[in-house]
């Protein structure tokens, strides 16, 4: 445990410096930290101020304003005056479209965790082998991630264009009909998931690949020497050591699903008949199409709370063991 203790010590010092701007914190940690000269406090405040002001103005203020607006029935013109309390929130949880959004987010998360991430993991393991031209494969698989969501969406609109698209033509050779995949309420969500996976599997693959290469060769070699099969090596050595990477990848995937907007907006607009609508799409429609800014703010607050609560719980219960000693060093000291 020596190396991690050293890391903890270092980051602790850095944290103390940051906290030094706060007199209370300095007081609390006074026994350990040397008192700083006033001149240095001024410097810290000076350099911290721009970032702090921007953060307050562009992150905290909008959250507060949206929270305020969410308690009014407001069309966005003038100042909100018609206070309705939590009506917008109760309305959201009675709105079939919004409830559908929650269900669809749940489905997308489920599909991502059960299909997209395992496939990415498999590919990463494959491309970690000594394969001919594996560098080329890595680049090809990662390439879709470089495209913007809008570009991806336009691309797939063309591919699955009925009667004209490449996907439509190819699927006809196979005796299927993929041309209407985005136009059928029963298939659109799955189609959307395919596009999301196409764009993001490379990203997760690179994460896993990087994580896999951080695992010392000696460990797998030792396991093999002890007679472990390839599967056993993967199951009992590689997978546990990839834990931190997988946990981060799951986290990004879930948060991404909750906030999904650009791709859906361009690809399907949330349709047909809301079958691919997400919370962000509903929020945009209510706020900018219907001018129900109060209600749209309520939806954005719900999205925020969902993401925030998930992030907190995930940090607390899942990521804690990965970050322990690095960020949460207090636990170590006690």
């Amino acid at each position: 445990m020596t190396p991690s203790t050293i890391t903890g010590q270092r980051s602790d010092d850095a944290a103390t410096e940051l906290l030094a701007a706060d007199p209370a914190a300095t007081q609390q940690r006074g026994r350990r930290a040397r008192p700083r000269p006033r001149r240095r406090l001024g410097t810290i405040a000076l350099f911290l101020a721009p970032a702090l002001v921007l953060f307050l103005l562009l992150v905290i203020t909008p959250i507060v304003v949206a929270g305020y607006a969410s308690m009014y029935k407001w069309n966005g013109f003038g100042l909100p005056e018609n206070f309705v309390g939590i009506d917008n929130f109760t309305r959201a949880f009675e709105d079939p479209t919004f409830l559908g959004d929650l269900w669809r987010a749940f489905v997308l998360i489920g599909l991502s965790l059960l299909i997209q991430l395992p496939v990415s993991l498999g590919l990463a393991m494959l491309l970690n082998q000594k394969l001919k031209g594996r560098g080329v494969y890595r680049v090809i698989f990662f390439a879709p991630y470089v495209l913007s969501e809008v570009t991806t969406a336009v691309l797939f609109t063309l591919v699955f264009s009925p009667n004209r698209g490449l996907g439509d033509t190819l699927s006809k050779w196979l005796g299927a009909d993929a041309g209407a995949i985005f136009a059928d309420p029963d298939t659109v969500l799955f189609a959307l998931f395919l596009v999301i996976s196409w764009k993001y599997f490379g990203f997760h693959m690179i994460l896993y690949l990087a994580g896999r290469q951080g695992i010392p060769q000696e460990l797998t070699e030792a396991a093999t020497t002890d007679g472990a099969s390839a599967w056993q090596v993967f199951r009992h050595v590689t997978l546990p050591l990839l834990g931190p990477t997988i946990r981060i990848s799951v986290f990004l995937s879930v948060i991404g699903s909750i906030q999904l907007f650009d791709m859906v907006w361009v690809l399907t607009g949330g349709g047909p008949i809301h079958a691919s609508e997400t919370m962000a799409v509903t929020m945009f429609d209510r706020g900018f199409r219907r001018f129900e800014v109060g209600y749209a703010s309520a939806i954005s607050i719900i999205m925020f709370v969902l993401s925030f609560v998930f992030a907190l719980f995930y940090q607390r219960f899942v990521l804690r063991r990965d970050t322990e000693g690095a960020i949460t060093n207090r636990g170590v000291q006690r």
């Binding site: 909008p62 949206a66 607006a69 013109f77 003038g78 609109t157 009925p162 059928d184 907007f261 047909p272």
Partner: protein, 430 residues
């Protein structure tokens, strides 16, 4: 899956309105005399040929004639305009002269005190315009804007495909339309092109049916009572269902856009469907989105939305809308005069000659070249009643709900009875 439009961006957008409102308190007022130096900020959405240079030339001429006036033009793409105007109006500082479709959105702007009542200023010359065109810009008896373009929705059909299906006469009743559609389909031709993804083209069917069944009065009454749960509106849905049950639309229509290369207009322009229900702009969009860039040319015909048996509405009643300009609350004094210049006969002729505008000034109608546009203009001039697009006439939330609900009806997920209840619920909540 990391979305690029992050939570904080979205929240930022949500908060922008209120934040900007506070900043807007710093705005200054323009001088109120027409002779002092002044600047007119003008936002329009004719951001492409052929109308872009026409507007620019008119503004230039006006500046030469009135040396104290400067016209600053901001041409914007339709969707970009809506987003930008939303921010500007929510901030309480609208441009001096800007695009409007009238109706429910204009009413919200009027209620918020963002636009100018110009009833008295335009009184001397507003009579030269088609009365139907001014209606969407008249709110509670007061005029807030002047239209430069007006049109109506009707069926556009491919004469070749009709001939191929052996159809010689265009349908004049709903029953005949259904027969026509069945006949076309039986010949292996796609009867109707529809952009299901955009929803608004679908609402034309339901609105027109409601007009033909219940008459204009039914639509006005519904707007007044916020009640669409009436036998007439249910009947409109039932009739539309009769059409939908024939499966007349092109493959994948629920995902189709209107103006994209595989959308509704392109399907028509490439000869892929026999009919579409669309506004006066249909021929030009068909042409520009078709593979040949020429569209159907003289193979394209037009007929009015047919009557419904036993309905109270008349075939002479038109459903449509147009484009106009309204004045922001801080517009300088000469803005009305500039608007008058935009709408004089000579300038309306110039606009009409481009083929992109159907003039609202009656005397400029002779400048329309396209034969189909002439038919539309003539039907509109002789129309006995006029109804603005429902998604513009009603408050935005109600209009969008109409679009959503009709889309659900067409997709088969809701019944005619359910959609009138959904629309009524939203209307009542406004």
């Amino acid at each position: 899956m990391t979305a690029h439009l992050s939570r904080r961006t979205l929240l930022g957008i949500a908060g922008a309105g209120a934040g900007a409102y506070l900043l807007s308190a710093c705005g200054s007022d323009e001088p109120s005399t027409p002779d002092g130096p002044q600047t007119i900020n003008w936002w329009h959405i004719q951001n492409t040929e052929p109308m872009l240079p026409v507007w620019a030339a008119i503004a230039k001429e006006y500046e030469t004639a009135h040396t104290n006036v400067k016209v600053v033009i901001q041409p914007l793409e339709n969707e970009a305009f809506k987003a930008k105007l939303t921010t500007a109006t929510q901030a309480g500082s609208p441009p001096d002269l800007f695009q409007s479709w009238g109706g429910g959105v204009l009413k919200q702007q009027v209620d918020a005190g963002l636009v100018k009542d110009i009833t008295a200023d335009v009184q001397p010359w507003i009579g030269s315009l088609l009365p139907a065109s001014v209606q969407p810009f008249t709110i509670d008896g007061k005029i807030y804007g002047v239209p430069f373009d007006v049109g109506m929705v009707g069926f556009w059909y491919n004469k070749d495909l009709f001939a191929k299906a052996g159809i010689t006469a265009t349908p004049t009743s709903w029953a005949e339309l259904l027969t026509t559609v069945s006949t076309i389909k039986s010949k292996g031709i796609v009867p109707i092109a529809l952009a299901g993804k955009e929803k608004w083209p679908g609402h034309f069917y339901w609105a027109y049916l409601a007009m033909r069944i219940g008459g204009l009065g039914a639509l006005q009454q519904a707007a007044k009572d916020n009640n669409f749960d009436t036998p007439d509106f249910i009947a409109a849905g039932t009739r539309l269902k009769e059409l939908v049950d024939l499966q007349p639309f092109q493959k994948g229509f629920l995902g189709a856009e209107y103006g994209s290369p595989d959308g509704q207009a392109a399907t028509m322009g490439n000869g892929g469907a026999a009919l579409e229900l669309m506004g006066q702009w249909a021929p030009s969009v068909q042409a520009s989105s078709s593979t040949s860039k020429k569209g159907l040319g003289d193979k394209l015909g037009y007929f009015a939305f047919p009557a419904v048996e036993g309905g109270k509405g008349s075939v002479a009643e038109a459903f449509g809308g147009g484009n106009g300009f309204v004045l922001g609350k801080n517009a300088p004094a000469s803005t009305v005069d500039f608007l008058k210049t935009l709408l004089d006969v000579a300038n309306q002729r110039k606009s009409a000659a481009t083929g992109a505008v159907l003039p609202t000034v009656k005397d400029a109608a002779d400048a329309i070249k396209d034969p189909n546009s002439k038919v539309v203009a003539a039907s509109l001039a002789s129309a006995t009643g006029f109804q603005l697009f429902l998604d513009q006439a009603y408050p935005p939330a109600v209009g969008q709900q109409v679009n959503d609900s009709v889309a659900e009806l067409i997709a088969g997920s809701k019944t005619p009875e359910q959609i009138v209840k959904d629309i009524t619920k939203v209307a009542k909540s406004q």
